[in-house]
Amino acid sequence: MLEIQNLTKIYEGGTVALRNVSMKVEDGEFLVIIGLSGSGKSTLLRCINRLIEPTEGRIIWDGVDVTHLSGEELRKVRRHIGMIFQQFNLVKRSSVLTNVLSGRLGYVNPWRSALGRFPKKDVDRALGALKQVGILDQAYKRSDELSGGQQQRVGIARALMQDPTLILADEPVASLDPATSHSILRYVEELNRDKGVTVLCSLHFLSLARAYATRIMALKDGEVVFEGSPAEIDDARFKEIYGEDAIQVEIR
């Protein structure tokens, strides 16, 4: 279980990204976080694995206070939390396989891996993960030769290598076309359903959120303005979250 207590993040320069956010995520949930750009979605996700240091508040995951871990302990927590990014964040000049293998970095011998060597079983696993996301034939290409959708699949394969119990997905489909968006989210949904991986996913489009979420949370100006089931978001709620001028756009 993931519990966030009174989380506040104020950036240098005074921008308040999160204001006293508290929430609970049960194991096995597919929680979608919606909200406008700049509402604090990315900051929230990055605070959970401490890519961003929270200013105040606590994050407790499986009974461990993540906020006060350091060094080795933090890395041990991170290796169980897979992360998927809007811009895929692959190392462009490295091969697809190397990018996938880097998901194992938290597990393997740091010195050996620093020289680019991975155990054979990890290599086999990486190839397996690529097969699972349907791009095994691209394994030895440079990752920037792949299309956006393929790159995001590499990102998912990389997260798979971590044996994750939690996946943080930061706008995973915002750079992709609608059809590809669905295929990517279906992989994530599969992980959630078949392997019981908890998913925290931020999305722009409410229609996508409705299609995949077991629960939706809405952020506005760093505050939680809604929490509930997808069905509960009616027109009034929608305008509350996205502002009066917003119009719903469907992605099917």
């Binding site: 992360m83 462009k92 490295s94 190397t98 194992r104 620093a114 680019g116």
Partner: protein
């Protein structure tokens, strides 16, 4: 500042600008004064471009006939005796021969300034040579060029040179010279080649020194890596400052410094170019580190990788290809600079080039100049091809 902000700032305080008439006149007056002064102090004298041209043409002609190849030479010699003034020694005509070359003089003694006929037989046909006067004491002097006809015969009229009177015999010498065999690289060419190898190796060593020092320092001079703490920021400014100072000192100045330190020679050149390479590469490298995409770094960190792994997997792949490109570019620059670093004591081909120039041996200098042109052009081409492939 964004373009929009700039535009907004322009609006309230808009002034007349440069074109307001009083400023314009003042500006023109100042400019005229400055240029007049500059014209004078730099001793500009356009006339010299014309008066100096013949010297220049002479030098260029020599440079265009480099002493590249040479051939074995053979020669023929013959002598005749003469006395100045006539006296008891009674010189003899050289013995005539059927086959051997020999010389016949119109008379055998006389006063300086008198005409004297010299004729030669049985020499190598169609060959050029030189006629010399060899006094009993003192140095030989060249009198005039001669050439044989198809029969191997020549005849010239000379004047007895102004030599001191002596009872001893004067000698007249004819020497014909011609080339035989195939052309082969001259001594100059061999010197230039060995110095060119030295030059390229000098550039290689300097670049290597630059790379080994600049790579670690480049991380310390990257703002994005060093801006986290005050202490690291101080290191950043320090390294940046040193880079800027070292880079602002020309390699030639470094060469002078190191020539004093370790003596004139290629080692001083290595150190001078190395020093400059450290600063130049350090700056380029660190800018590359600063432009790294942070996305992959956070992705790798999120997998639980430690600092070393993050560098090896997220940073290194992003910087290695541009580092290689910059390094090849630097080697290219270093080869170019090493060709002239010898002017100030840095060894390599520049060292002999400046000597030949000072000795006015432009044919030799020409070989060096051509070698430099070829090597620099080749390096330039190769480096651009390789850089294109890498990045």
């Amino acid at each position: 500042m964004s373009a929009e902000e700039e535009r907004r700032q322009e609006i309230p305080g808009r002034r007349g600008g440069l074109l307001s008439s009083r400023r314009l006149i003042l500006g023109i007056v100042v400019a005229v004064l400055v240029y007049a002064f500059a014209w004078q102090i730099t001793e500009i004298d356009l006339e010299k471009l014309v008066t100096g041209a013949p010297d220049m043409v002479h030098i260029v002609k020599q440079l265009l006939q480099p002493d590249l190849l040479t051939r074995e030479e053979e020669y023929q010699l013959a002598y005749g005796d003469f006395q100045v003034p006539c006296g008891p020694a009674a010189p003899q005509q050289p013995a005539a021969s059927e086959t051997e070359p020999y010389m016949v003089l119109s008379h055998l003694c006389g006063e300086p300034g008198e005409p004297l006929g010299v004729e030669g037989f049985n020499f190598r046909p169609n060959t050029k040579g030189i006629l010399r006067w060899v006094p009993p004491t003192g140095t030989k002097r060249s009198l005039q060029r001669v050439g044989t006809d198809s029969e191997g015969h020549f005849a010239v009229g000379i004047a007895v040179p102004d030599v001191p009177a002596s009872e001893e015999l004067q000698e007249i010498e004819i020497e014909l010279k011609w080339d035989v065999g195939l052309p082969y690289p001259s001594e100059t060419t061999r010197i230039v080649l060995s110095k060119m190898v030295q030059t390229i190796m000098l550039a290689l060593m300097a670049t290597t020194v630059g790379v080994f020092v600049a790579v670690p320092l480049s991380f310390l001079a990257a703002r994005n890596l060093m801006s986290k703490y005050r202490g690291t920021m101080i290191i950043y400014f320090l390294v940046r400052g040193v880079f800027n100072i070292v880079r602002s000192i020309e390699p030639y100045i470094w060469a002078i410094i190191f020539a004093v330190w370790v003596g004139i020679g290629p080692f001083a050149g290595v150190l001078a170019l190395g020093m400059h390479s450290i600063a130049a590469l350090g700056k380029l490298y660190s800018e590359q580190v600063e432009s790294i995409d942070p996305g992959p770094i956070e992705a790798i960190q999120a997998t639980g990788a430690n600092a070393l792994q993050t560098i090896m997997y997220a940073v290194v792949p992003q910087i290695v290809p541009p580092y290689i490109a910059f390094t090849i570019y630097r080697w290219d620059i270093n080869v170019r600079m090493s060709t002239v670093i010898g002017f100030v004591g840095g060894g390599g081909i520049g060292f002999i080039l400046i000597q030949w120039v000072n000795l006015l041996r432009y044919k030799q200098a020409g070989v060096a100049v051509w070698a430099i042109v070829i090597v620099v052009w080749t390096m330039d081409y190769v480096s651009s091809v390789v850089r294109e492939k890498v990045v």
